[in-house]
């Protein structure tokens, strides 16, 4: 338990540092992946399956477990693949006290405020599924960024698809 607290504290500290902006050292993707990968040595054990942000393949380091889930246009229904991956997340979460953050996003078509609501609906549909699988509601935090934090740019079906997502963090 203490180790988990330590890990969360470190992650929070790093997040703070990154948020401080410009002149602060920036944690790049490689080092964050290393950190997630080396979580075992810090005693976090099974928790290494839960995601780090910003992985291009949307997978947690070393585990092959998806942490980014995609949705159809204007929809919040979960695909078969998403439900399968969520089952594994649920298993890990049921055996831990860890709190995860579900971040909902939308593509940039339509209005910004409506897309905020849509992102929330997506994050909630993931949360509801995890609760159905026995995860405690108190372990799940949802937030929507709507279309404000895109990962792909340009007006193409592919970038729209990549932006309609929920990330587990």
């Amino acid at each position: 338990m203490n180790h988990i607290k330590q890990l969360i504290f470190t992650a929070a500290l790093l997040g703070l540092l990154a948020a401080c902006g410009g002149s602060q050292p920036v944690v790049d993707e490689t080092s964050s992946a290393d950190r997630a990968g080396s979580a075992d040595t810090m005693g976090a054990g099974a928790d290494s399956g839960l995601g780090r942000d910003g992985m291009d393949d949307g997978q947690a380091a070393g585990s092959g477990l998806a942490t980014v889930f995609y949705f159809d246009y204007d929809r919040s229904t979960l695909t078969y693949e998403t439900r399968q991956a969520l089952d594994r997340h649920a298993e890990i979460l049921r055996n831990s006290a860890r709190v995860v953050r579900l971040e909902g996003h939308a593509d940039d078509r339509g209005t910004r405020e409506y897309n905020l609501a849509l992102g929330e609906r997506r994050a909630k549909s993931i949360a509801d599924y995890l609760v159905l699988q026995g995860v405690s509601r108190s372990q799940l935090e949802t937030i929507s960024y709507g279309e404000e934090k895109p990962v792909a740019y340009g007006q193409s079906e592919e970038s729209y698809r990549l932006n309609r997502r929920v990330e587990i963090k």
């Binding site: 920036v26 993707e29 409506y114 609906r121 404000e148 990962v151």
Partner: protein
């Protein structure tokens, strides 16, 4: 700034202007690049605009005036789409007072109205006195004369005030060139880090001032009806919260920080209430906060998305977007009875509506053939009319005189601001910058 024809002295407004200038200097320490440093591109105008000559004003001070008032007035009138100002190079003479105007010179180049004027500086103090006259060339008579005074820092304000008066005299509609706009700009930085800024600027994009900056999203700026405050959504704490902020002092208050969405604040016409979207009770619903008591009243209770509230001019009802009928459409809710009525039926995506100041209809985002346009929906005819032809158009906001709509669109992969007249005949684009511009909000007339 004072005008002797109307003897308006606006101390509160003056005060806020000075405070803002001071604050922006202190807080920023640098002059931000202004949208208006590049000419606004007018993409469509009316077929037969009125030909007007705004002759460069005479100048009695030393050096050169800090602002070219005639040029600003000409640009304002051109942007309205209803006027075609004659370039100074085509003028056969450049008089500064009515007694020097030779009407035949202006008839020869088919000019209908001539504006002449002079600028005088007050020596030691930095006061500036501007006087101008407007002549009707056909009738060969002076139809306007006015004197304004203010500080040299207020020359742009004086120019816009002159534009407002001339526009009203010649069209019968009050001008809105003296108004301000709010908008959000965003830049994507490396490693999925972002930078968001909320700006205030003149309606022509000049004198841009930074209001808030954050690494987390800023959204939905909304003016208080007297123009002294704004409300907006900031994610700076890691979660969305609604803030209100005084533009003159910078003083800020967090109004809501509930679990879930805190979104789309909209000030009531009387300034006492703020409509907003909260999902604290399950899913996004419309609430109204009484700003004095902070009491919340829930207006909608659907299991669908209800968002984007906007007030009717009488403050008795609101319009909002809801997908309770599966696709997003515009609904009306009465504050007195809570009765909800669907307003739009045409098309499968209608969102972010606002009611026109004359209560004749809605301005909204309407999807047509997969493209998102700014549209006008007329209450009497029950007809929807797309005003723009571009795609991904969003966030329409109507000028206080109801003539123009500012909105956000995309140009070559970047978010830009643009404007279209409510009748669809006039269009112009604000310049494309290095950042994505979005969510413009057209402010009220200065008090």
């Amino acid at each position: 700034m004072t005008t002797d024809s109307t003897a308006e002295l606006k101390p509160a407004w003056l005060h806020s202007l000075c405070m803002l200038a001071l604050l922006s200097l202190l807080a920023l320490g640098f002059a931000s690049k202004s949208l208006a440093q590049i000419t606004i591109e007018i993409t469509e105008g009316v077929d037969d605009p009125t030909s007007i000559a705004v002759v460069p004003f005479g100048w009695s001070g030393s050096g050169v005036p800090s602002e070219d008032i005639a040029k600003i007035v000409g640009a304002d009138l051109r942007r309205s789409g209803l006027f075609s100002p004659v370039p100074p190079s085509e003028m056969l003479g450049q008089p500064h007072q009515s007694s020097d105007v030779h009407y035949r010179d202006w008839r020869a180049i088919n000019v209908e109205y001539v504006v002449v004027g002079t600028i005088r500086t007050g020596g030691v103090s930095k006061s500036v006195e501007v006087q101008y006259e407007v002549m009707d060339v056909l009738k060969q008579q002076r139809i306007m004369y006015e004197k304004l005074s203010g500080s040299s820092a207020q020359m742009r304000d004086m120019a816009h005030a002159i534009s407002d008066k001339i526009y009203e005299k010649l069209t019968g509609i009050p001008g809105a060139f003296s108004t301000k706009i709010l908008y959000v700009s965003a830049a994507n930085r490396e490693n999925r880090r972002y930078n968001y800024r909320l700006y205030k600027a003149d309606a022509d994009g000049a004198r841009e001032q930074l209001i808030v900056e954050s690494e987390e999203p800023l959204l939905s700026p909304s003016w208080s009806p007297d123009g002294s405050e704004l409300a907006y959504v900031s994610f700076e704490s890691g979660r969305p919260a609604i803030y209100r902020q005084n533009l003159a002092t910078g003083a800020r208050e967090k109004l809501t920080n509930f679990k879930g969405l805190n979104s789309a604040p909209a000030w009531s016409p009387d300034g006492t209430q703020l409509a907003m979207v909260l999902s604290k009770d399950g899913n996004p619903d419309i609430y109204v906060m009484d700003l004095a008591s902070k009491n919340l009243r829930r207006l909608t209770r659907s299991s669908a998305i209800d968002t984007e509230p906007s007030w009717y001019p009488d403050g008795k009802s609101l319009v909002f977007t809801s997908d309770r009928g599966r696709a997003p459409q515009i609904y009306k809710v009465s504050l007195a009875t809570g009765a909800i009525q669907r307003l739009t039926f045409e098309g499968s995506y209608n969102a972010r509506a606002s009611v026109l100041p004359d209560n004749s209809g809605l301005v909204l985002v309407h999807r047509q053939d997969g493209q998102f346009h700014i549209a006008e929906y007329n209450f009497a005819s029950e007809r929807m009319r797309a005003l723009t032809k571009t795609s991904l158009d969003e966030s329409p906001s109507v000028a206080p005189n109801g003539r123009m709509i500012i909105y956000a669109t995309h140009q070559r992969g970047r978010g830009i601001l643009a404007a279209v007249s409510t009748d669809g005949n006039v269009k112009y684009n604000f310049p494309r910058t290095t950042r994505d511009l979005r969510e413009p909000a057209w402010g009220p007339w200065p008090k």
